[in-house]
Structures are given as structure tokens and as C-alpha cells.
């Protein structure tokens, strides 16, 4: 909890993309982010989200996979999970900054949460399968896409 209150240094460094071993996709430089007041106000990397892409990512089980645990207004998909709260009107509940922190790493707010952090520093994770070494679940752009999509749910 204390960590959340700290104002971290924001480093939106434009580091070059590092090529990964084998057939893994290239590792994107991790963007540091600042959590303040239960929110991350600045878009990751200063990127702008895309609503349509965000909706697709929410369904994609290899990406955001929001549907595994949450209900969403996506009627063409069956079987919405129920481990987490419904997101049907989530855009009314949070502003963009609060939404971003919850997607990036809800464990900053709720250390016991089972929700996987979508953008946690890979260096802080343990026993990660080799093909995912150095990767966040979503890229910075994908986080912004999902934020943009969820903000439309009102």
C-alpha cells in the first residue's frame, strides 16, 4: 500500500526495441509509470488508445482476456466469467486514470487481488515461462486501447 502513495519517477524513455531470442516477439522496453491518488493519470508512453482494438483485446484469450473473469457488453461471445465485478458500466465508475491503474496492476490497490497485472515490471515477476520472459501481458499501446474501450462502457 505504501508503494502506491509514493510518487515514482516517470520515465517515458524512448528506448530501442530489443530483439528477443528464438521465435518470441521482440521485447518492448518497459515504460515506468506513476501511481498517485489510486490512479495513473498519464497514458503509458504518452500513447493514445483505440476503442475498437481495445474491445478485441478484451475478448482475446491470449491478450487481455477480460471475459475470463468479467461480464462485458459483448453479446456475440458466450460464457462471460464471474470471478470479478461486471464491467458493463465500468466507465461510469472510474475516470481514465483510475481505470488505467486497475488494468496496469490492481495489486497496487488490493495486494490480495487475483487479477493478473496487465503491465507489471517483468523484472519483479518470478518463475515466468521462458517464452514470456521480459514481456508484460499487454503492451503499453494495448493497455491504452483497453482503457479507451472500457471508458466507453457507460
Amino acid at each position: 500500500m505504501r508503494r502506491m502513495l509514493l510518487i515514482l519517477t516517470t520515465v517515458f524513455a524512448s528506448l530501442p526495441i530489443v530483439a528477443a531470442a528464438d521465435d518470441a516477439p521482440p521485447i518492448e522496453a518497459y515504460q515506468q509509470w506513476t501511481a498517485k491518488g489510486h490512479a495513473i493519470q498519464e497514458p503509458l508512453g504518452g500513447l493514445k488508445g483505440d476503442v475498437a482494438r481495445g474491445r478485441k483485446l478484451s475478448i482475446d484469450s491470449a491478450k487481455g482476456n477480460c471475459l475470463a473473469c468479467h461480464r462485458l457488453p459483448i453479446p456475440e461471445e458466450e460464457f462471460h466469467g464471474e470471478l470479478g465485478p461486471s464491467l458493463v458500466k465500468i466507465g461510469k465508475k472510474y475516470d481514465e486514470g483510475k481505470m488505467r491503474l486497475r488494468i496496469v496492476n490492481i495489486q497496487e490497490l488490493l495486494p490480495s487481488s487475483l487479477m493478473p497485472p496487465m503491465y507489471m515490471n517483468p523484472a519483479e515477476l518470478t518463475e515466468v515461462a521462458k517464452k514470456f520472459h521480459g514481456h508484460t501481458v499487454l503492451t503499453a499501446q494495448e493497455v491504452e486501447d483497453v482503457v479507451a474501450y472500457l471508458m466507453t462502457l457507460k
Partner: protein, 257 residues
Amino acid sequence: MKLKTAILLGAGLASALSCASTFSADVFSGYTLLKQETKEMQDDDFMNQGMETVVKGAALFSAMGKNGKSCTTCHGEGGKKLDPKRIAQYPVLDTNTKRPITLQQRILNMWAEQVGNGPLKYESADAVALETFVRNLARGQVVNVQIDGAMAPFYEEGKKLFEKRVGQLNMACNLCHDDHAGELLRAQVLSQGQTNGFPTYRLASSSVIGTQTRINQCYKSVRAEEQPYGSEAFTLMELYMNGRGNGLKIETPAVRF
């Protein structure tokens, strides 16, 4: 959801303060979450596809080994001299190593040392078949793993592993299986992750699998590094998971999604 989260947080705090170590929720078998047709499949030995593995295990159990004997030489035809209550106590404390040993590891040791057939790989098809046959002899017995005394520290270590966040998804077994059993993860109902039906027939893979293979399947889902079978960590986890289900009836071979 808010209320529920508050309760969970409260419960977590209370258990941290009291150092309570046993899994306190009422234990229930994954059987109770099955669709009626799957229950019927498990209950009828002619429909239960795991029974093929029991039959295969029985054949291995009576197959003559290089030392001129088979498992039946000591344990009787069809393992009738084996004590089902003892089978239900696995993993047990190994008197030689003073560490826990799983049922499959015990069988593998016997297979190599007594029957003389050379090593079988942990979780290989033959190893799982032998374990399934033996564990099926204890079907209906109550899981009764020692978790106190000399076993207590190992049980606690297993619990720590069960509750350790791993993988890119940074998840731990207990987050789903202690706190959300019975709820839907997409189309799948989460179980408590009990092991009373193991080795179990998985409809998803059309095969009988052991506990440690099932753990690795979950590890893969959370994008964690899969662990070697028969490892110390997996032995401890299997001990914890079995002990956590003390009181449940053995269903081997269970049928699960």
C-alpha cells in the same frame, strides 16, 4: 463484490494474525460441480474411460519383472494384500529419507528396486497407470494424510508453494481455488483443486493424468515455468493438496473437464 472483497481481506488478515495454517473452508469434491451426465460417466465403470487405465495398470502390476517377480508377488493378486486405508494416507513420511513421498514415487521406487524393471519416468503413461490402479483399490476410502507431527513442516512448505504468486500472470493457486471455487472462469466452473479423484480422467485431454501434470497445466495457464515431475517442490505441493482435502472420499479414476 465490494463486500466480498472486504470479507476476503478480513479473512486474510485474521489468518495472518492467528497463523492459522489449515484450509478452513468446507472441503468439497470437484464431483459436486459436475454436470449430471459427467457424474453418471464417472459412476459407471463401463462408461468411465479412466477404467481403461486401471486395467492397464493391473496388467503392469502383475507383469513379471527382471528380478523374477511382479508387484503381485508381495502384494497379492490384484493387490489384495495392500491396505486401502494406507493408500489413502499418501503422501506419507518415508522412513528412510525422513521426507514425504508420493504414492507414485513409492511405486516407481518399488518398480526399479524390487521388480527390477529399470526406472519408469514420473508421470509417464505406465507410471500413471500403475498409480491409478493402486489408488483405485482405495476408492471410497477417506483421504487421511498426516499433516501434524513430523509432517507439519512439510505441509506448511507445500502450503507456501500453493500460495506463492508465479508466472507472467502473477497468480497463486489459492487465489482461485480457496477463494472462488464454484464460480465461473469463462465457461469452466472453478473447483477447490482437490486431489481426491487423482489420477483423473480429463475430458479436455482424453487421458488420465496425475496430480503433478495437472499442476503443470495450471502453471502453463498462468504462464509460469513448468516444474520437473517428482521434484521436491511438487512432492510438497501434492502433500499439501492431499492433506487439504482430508475427509474427502477417493474417487480414482474421477472424470473431470
